[in-house]
Structure formats: structure tokens, C-alpha cells
């Protein structure tokens, strides 16, 4: 059908958007790849539960105001098979997070790279995260 032809061949991004839905939902249903954000703060909470692991950090802006941000990762099952544990990230750890913001404008984002500030360790380095894009 012409409908499929025009959509499938011209809508490259939509197909990309479908890819991260491996665990649960389409990336593009919630997040905006064109709204990258890099934030640093101390971990306040870790939720190691399906369908997605989440962690939260307190972020201080230039005026000293503190806001809590939530970051979504893959499912604990996927992370576990990649070598993560539920104690890999602990409350109090200071991390730097590169992520894509939610379309809703809420203080949530889809985490791509998590760096432990004290050691510089990239917590996603068990995968090829960044290797092909840096």
C-alpha cells in the first residue's frame, strides 16, 4: 500500500523510536531525543523493579534551588544480564547523567550514560554505550 510505503520509508525516526520498546514502550511515546540534558547530583532513591529501573537525584541549580529528577533505564532483567546489580547504584552516590527529557516537561528523563563522579566510572560501560558514537 502507498500508505505503508510513504510512512515506512520516509519515517526513519519513527522506526528508531520503535526500537527501544524492547522492554515496554516506544521511546517517542514519552521522551524527546532532541531534548538532551546533562545533570549531576546525589542519588536519593533507586527503584530496581520492572518494567524499568528508575533512580532519582537531587540537582542544585545556580541559585542553589534543589530539584529532584527521575531517570528511567532499561528493565532490571536486561540490566541484570548486562552485569548490573540492584546495588550497583546506591543512595548517596554522586552521578552525572546524560539523558533525554520527557516530552511532558516533567523532571524525568531517559538515562543514556551514568557516570560515577568519584571515580569517573561509566556505569553503562558493560555495554557498548558511547563506543560507536564518541
Amino acid at each position: 500500500m502507498r500508505v505503508r510505503s510513504s510512512i515506512l520509508l520516509s519515517s526513519f525516526c519513527l522506526i528508531l523510536a520503535a526500537m527501544p520498546a524492547l522492554a515496554h514502550h516506544a521511546f517517542s511515546a514519552e521522551y524527546d531525543a532532541d531534548k538532551p540534558v546533562k545533570l549531576t547530583g546525589a542519588v536519593t532513591k533507586v527503584e530496581w523493579e520492572n518494567p524499568h529501573a528508575w533512580f532519582y537525584i537531587d540537582v542544585k541549580d545556580n541559585a542553589g534551588k534543589v530539584e529532584n529528577w527521575g531517570f528511567e533505564m532499561g528493565s532490571p532483567n536486561l540490566l541484570t544480564r548486562a552485569g548490573w546489580g540492584r546495588n550497583t547504584l546506591k543512595v548517596g552516590d554522586v552521578v552525572s547523567v546524560e539523558a533525554s527529557r520527557a516530552k511532558s516537561g516533567a523532571n524525568i528523563a531517559n538515562a543514556k550514560v551514568v557516570t560515577l563522579v568519584s571515580t569517573g566510572q561509566k556505569l553503562f560501560t558493560g555495554s557498548s554505550q558511547g563506543q560507536t558514537t564518541r
Binding site: 524492547l22 515496554h24 532483567n77
Partner: protein, 273 residues
């Protein structure tokens, strides 16, 4: 876009890396290569009744060499891909060859425009047969002479394939997994499934089907480590001719399933835009 692709690469890798230490149980019955690894090319195991034994923990292959037309750039950027039919069951066809009935074409286009927001999986509903075998998430086949049980890590759901001579129930409650009966044709297990709910999607793009869908799956375990599932979807209400594809899966030796309940900590639905 770079960061977006980066994210995709990450998730695909996480999905494909099933060699971690978690839930691994040494299996001394597995044939080994000289270096001590499971010999995935060893001969197909045999069940006590002489049939090929399909039992094992399997995961559909991520084959980036076979991405649908138009997305080849993904692998060139990331080096990673996705299970072809997980994304698009019509990936083997040219775009103008998909045999949509007019209403189905319109429904598919509408789902595409919604960018996955209406995908049942995004709302913590199951992925149905046959799509659930295309996910890059493990499933476990347990084979007995009269019944084959498939346990899926995704949504912690199951399906039963009855090998006794029963017939499908008339006017059965529509099911996500359908109602499956099977029989052996030589070394191939042929599974017929009917009785599907229309709610399930056939892939992540949103290909549709009706309650009249008839799915035929032909399972063949080529050797210890490799399973092929040839799928034929017949649904005259939706497609003017059958759609066929072959999903390949690989054994995850010494692995087991994990638990997965989507509603445990679902936080996304309220943010879909």
C-alpha cells in the same frame, strides 16, 4: 540524533547480552567444544519418544544484517540492530506488496501516526502469539509427549500447545496466545493456533489482525543451539493473502528465566505525549 541512536545501541546490547553470570546453572549434560563451551552445533537432542526435543531457554536472534528497508543506517551508526520481525513482520516484502485490506491499511497508518502510544505492551498488556516469539526476551520451551508448554519472560505469561487430538473450543473466549494444537511432521512440530483477541499487535509498528486470524508455526530445531520458527499468518479479513516469515532463535545454555511483571512499577503511561 546521535544520543538517541546511542540509547538504542545500549538497549539493544542489554537485550542481546545473555552471557552474564545471573541465573546460570552449570549443565553437565551439555556437549562441549574443546574449549569447554557448550557446543551449539551439536546434534539435536532427542526426547524419550524419539521426537526432537525443543526444550530449552531460547531467545530470538538480533540480526542487524536483516533490518527492514529504510533503517539500514541504524546498523551503520550503531553496529547493532533489532530482531527483524519484532519491528515489522512484513520486512521481507516490498512496501507496496503488503496485502492489506483497505480498513487494515487505515488502522495500521493510524497506529504509526500515534508513534507506539497505543501499543498494548506500552500499557502493560501482553504481547500475543505469534509476536511474543519475536521479542529479544527469553522464552522457555518445556516439552512432554502430549503437551508443550512455553514460558515467556515477557509479562511472565505462558502458552500451551496440545499434542493430543483435541479440537479448538467453539466460540472460545478470545485469547492473547490463541488456542494451539500441534502435531509432528517428521522432525518439524506444526502448531495451529486460532481464537485470538483482536487487541494484540503483530509487531511494534502495529500491524493488525482480526479475530479470524489463523497462525501456523513450524518449529525445527536444526541442532543443539538453533531453532527456526516458520510463521504463516492467514487472516482474510485483514490481509488478502498470507504473510510468512521465519524467526530464528538461539539457545541460551545454562540460563534461566527471570520474573517480569510490567505493572510492578509502571510510571510511563501518564507521560505519553
Amino acid at each position: 540524533m546521535r544520543s538517541f541512536v546511542c540509547c538504542i545501541a545500549l538497549i539493544l546490547v542489554l537485550g542481546s547480552n545473555a552471557s552474564a553470570q545471573w541465573a546460570r546453572t552449570p549443565d553437565n549434560t551439555l556437549p562441549r567444544t574443546r574449549d569447554g563451551k557448550p557446543d551449539l552445533a551439536a546434534k539435536t537432542p532427542q526426547a524419550r519418544d524419539g521426537k526432537p526435543d525443543l526444550s530449552g531457554v531460547w531467545q530470538s536472534d538480533i540480526n542487524f544484517a536483516a533490518l527492514p528497508p529504510g533503517v539500514q543506517t541504524v546498523e551503520s551508526i550503531t553496529g547493532f540492530g533489532a530482531p527483524r520481525y519484532f519491528v515489522d513482520i512484513t520486512a521481507d516484502m516490498k512496501p507496496n506488496e503488503v496485502p492489506f485490506q483497505p480498513a487494515a491499511a487505515a488502522q495500521f497508518a493510524q497506529r504509526m501516526q500515534r508513534q507506539g502510544k497505543d501499543d498494548p505492551a506500552a500499557h502493560c498488556q501482553p504481547t500475543g502469539v505469534p509476536a511474543i516469539h519475536n521479542l529479544p526476551i527469553p522464552f522457555k520451551i518445556v516439552q512432554t509427549p502430549g503437551l508443550i508448554i512455553v514460558l515467556f519472560e515477557d509479562s511472565s505469561v505462558f502458552r500451551q500447545i496440545f499434542l493430543d487430538p483435541r479440537k479448538p473450543v467453539e466460540d472460545a473466549q478470545p485469547r492473547w496466545m490463541g488456542y494451539s494444537t500441534g502435531k509432528w511432521e517428521g522432525d518439524t512440530l506444526v502448531v495451529d493456533s486460532v481464537g485470538f483477541t483482536e487487541k494484540s499487535w503483530l509487531d511494534r509498528l502495529g500491524h493488525t489482525h482480526s479475530d479470524a486470524m489463523h497462525v501456523t508455526e513450524r518449529y525445527r530445531r536444526k541442532d543443539l543451539g538453533h531453532l527456526e520458527i516458520e510463521v504463516t499468518i492467514e487472516d482474510p479479513k485483514t490481509y488478502t493473502r498470507p504473510i510468512q516469515y521465519t524467526q530464528k532463535a538461539s539457545l541460551l545454555p545454562e540460563e534461566d528465566l527471570l520474573e517480569y511483571f510490567c505493572t510492578e512499577n509502571e510510571k510511563d503511561i501518564e507521560h505519553y505525549r
